[in-house]
Symmetry: C2
Subunit: 430 residues, 2 copies
């Protein structure tokens, strides 16, 4: 009866790219996913696993018996093994390594020496390399034999393996047969250091209009290249991770993660937020006496907290984007603060008047209108201040503001909002 959850026509897997099969498998509940996996053409399986997110991939790998693992390891190159290594038992990785030729094993060890946020880990080795003293005829001879994907350049190295320059293949057409390739080098190609952050490397691609950039060690030795496809994939994952982080989730999260695992992970985030909610409750608790006498304050509390939270998240989001673009420096924090406080002040006064009037009429008390109006102004101003300062401080402490900025901000606007509102209520209404 679960036929409805299967993709329509698994036979059609044959016509799909590994990336597309990966997306499809991820969208299936666990039992249907298991069923569909065995329809994936054997020769595509390694590529499909590489293309999948870590969690759904692990859900499949757990099904593999030793025979299936054996078959998988027989077809892995260094780049695929690097992607899968964390999902495989150590002994399987060892077997895969033992089955590789020496060059692939060397590539693997090289890549594995870099962090999973660094360009060096994802180096692509299918590139066309020539000695720096080669001539145009050597290049055309090479290009006649083999042309890997993303080939826009030939890479020149000297005897010690250092990158000596990049020659665009298109320049070969206007060159003489005997011309040295060193005369055709494109000076605008800047190599990526293997230690560079992967996300920063994608930014270089947006500026450089090339299908691949060379990756070199600190000493300038050519390790391989990073392709524009990887840049696109990285950008995709980076932003997805950021969107997921705002809800305390991981980019690798499986849509159909097992209930126990998923619950456990989300419980942590709920627990953190519970602490901040209790902090807000504690702030309200300070004014129990007031609430007993003026119950209207309890009714209106969420309005004060909510307006502060929303105004603050607008400022926060703008600042987080600015930080991500590298646009926020010590020299413009003050002008920004001034601008955001002005915007907050204007909106605070505007909505204070609206909310004040509504509250006055609702509870037939001008004093309540005054109290909530003042509290709104105070809380929106506090929100503007926190919206600028929290992400800037987090960034300085090397904590990702996209992950925790919003929790901290809401705590501030909740506590400030409740204290201002109930505190003013105590002063004015009792």
């Amino acid at each position: 009866e679960d036929s409805g959850t299967r993709p329509s026509g698994q036979e059609a897997f044959d016509d799909l790219e590994p990336d597309q099969i990966a997306l499809l498998l991820e969208s299936l509940p666990l039992d249907a996913r298991e069923h569909a996996w065995f329809q994936v053409p054997v020769e595509s399986r390694a590529d499909v696993l590489v293309a999948m997110r870590a969690e759904p991939r692990d859900s499949l790998l757990r099904l593999f018996d030793s025979e299936a693992l054996d078959q998988l390891t027989s077809s892995l190159d260094a780049e695929s093994l690097i992607e899968l290594a964390d999902s495989l038992p150590d002994e399987v990785v060892d077997i895969a390594l033992a089955r590789m030729d020496q060059r692939q094993r060397h590539y693997y060890e090289q890549s594995a020496s870099y962090e999973d946020t660094q360009v060096g880990r994802y180096v692509d080795h299918e590139l066309l390399i020539l000695p720096h003293n080669s001539r145009v005829r050597d290049a055309t001879r090479l290009l006649r034999r083999t042309v890997p994907e993303h080939t826009g350049h030939l890479w020149l190295i000297n005897r010690t393996g250092h990158l000596a320059g990049a020659v665009p293949v298109t320049r070969l057409f206007s060159a003489r047969e005997a011309q040295p390739l060193s005369e055709l080098i494109d000076d605008e190609i800047e190599a990526l250091n293997a230690g560079l952050d992967l996300k920063e490397a994608t930014d270089r691609f947006e500026l450089a209009a090339v299908p691949a950039l060379p990756v070199v060690t600190d000493e300038g030795i050519l390790l391989g290249r990073m392709t524009q496809s990887l840049a696109l994939e990285t950008l995709h994952e980076h932003y997805e991770a950021q969107l997921m982080a705002t809800a305390g989730l991981d980019e690798e999260e499986d849509l159909f993660a097992p209930v126990m695992r998923s619950s456990r992970r989300r419980a942590t985030w709920l627990g953190i937020n519970l602490l901040t909610a209790f902090l807000a409750s504690w702030a309200i608790g300070l004014f129990e006496g007031t609430l007993e006498q003026v119950v209207a304050l309890a009714v209106l509390m969420p309005v004060v907290a909510s307006m502060g939270g929303i105004a603050g998240s607008q400022t926060l989001t703008l600042i987080i984007r600015g930080l991500a673009l590298g646009q926020i420096t010590t020299s413009n924090v003050m002008p920004l603060l001034k601008k955001e406080l002005s915007v907050g002040g204007l909106n605070g006064v505007l909505w204070a008047i609206v909310i004040g009037i509504v509250a006055s009429i609702w509870f037939n008390s001008a004093a309540i209108g005054l109290v909530i109006g003042l509290a709104i102004v105070i809380n929106i101003a506090a929100a503007a201040l926190s919206g600028v300062l929290i992400p800037v401080l987090l960034e300085r402490l090397k904590i990702d503001p996209a992950l925790s900025g919003s929790v901290i901000l809401t705590t501030v606007t909740d506590v400030v909002g409740f204290v201002a509102f109930l505190g003013l209520g105590t002063l004015v209404l009792l």
Copy 2:
């Protein structure tokens, strides 16, 4: 005294790409931005304006006198004018068009006939085109003369202008001089329809490892190409817009937008949220009598609302990503709902126990612990349900769930949370 807000060494603008100058200008307060603008090399100014976000760009264009506008329009090609047209007065666009040669004007009109979300609007015209019956020697002759950026292919057209195929330049090396180019066509290149959504086009780039894809009309006539650089830029902007949308902001928003304009725009979002906050207040107001008698309920209210909101936003975020990836179909909504309800149920019960115990001790009342525990279970279950159904319904109504999903979800979890908590409180505690 505002020297601190200026970039260190504007003379260094000469060494920067237009994209980088654009980012830098955007990061400056309005007066410093105006000052810095005049340091931008005259020949880069059009490109810098094109690279800027609409709002900060408009802030600069407003400074232009007729002479500056005149100078700007003298150097615009069709692709730049398309980007700037919305920021320029109509008569200036007309002048720019009048100054273009006929071909550029034709390109402009072609591009302008597509929406700003469609590939057709951003077609790049610097491509190498040959008649479909050309031979290898024609291709090499062409490549000797000129090679635009992103050249990985030559494009063949027939007499009616229809795309007849793409020939990778690298295939020319292994071909004979007199060989027809039609024998070298790469069958894997799929043309983009000019009406295709720009974001969908970037997904094609992630699968196709090419520096540019051809763009054709419905009839198959070659209009130009879309480059991988544009794909990267589009992806960047798409996700930025999504992140900004979660706070009701626009991707084009200026970090230093004038206070009045910024306030007005944000006021709308605050107003929408105010309505939902009043809805929550109204729900609380139904239980004024109860709150008067049991003030502990007022103190604990935010905990119930907050736990529901957080749990719901986790489900919502996961579903929004699934929708964006095309992974959510009618066939897996039910299994997803079941899974999310199970996760919510487990976490609901877990945190209900923790919060129930804390509340019992705090207010020295087992009954209050029971009431809040039950309310937490109900609200987290409602959150899981809404977290799945709200984005799926919005998507079906063609409303972007990233924009409004979170507001609607919070309204649901606030109202359900308050009603469940105060309603149970009325039943159990009075």
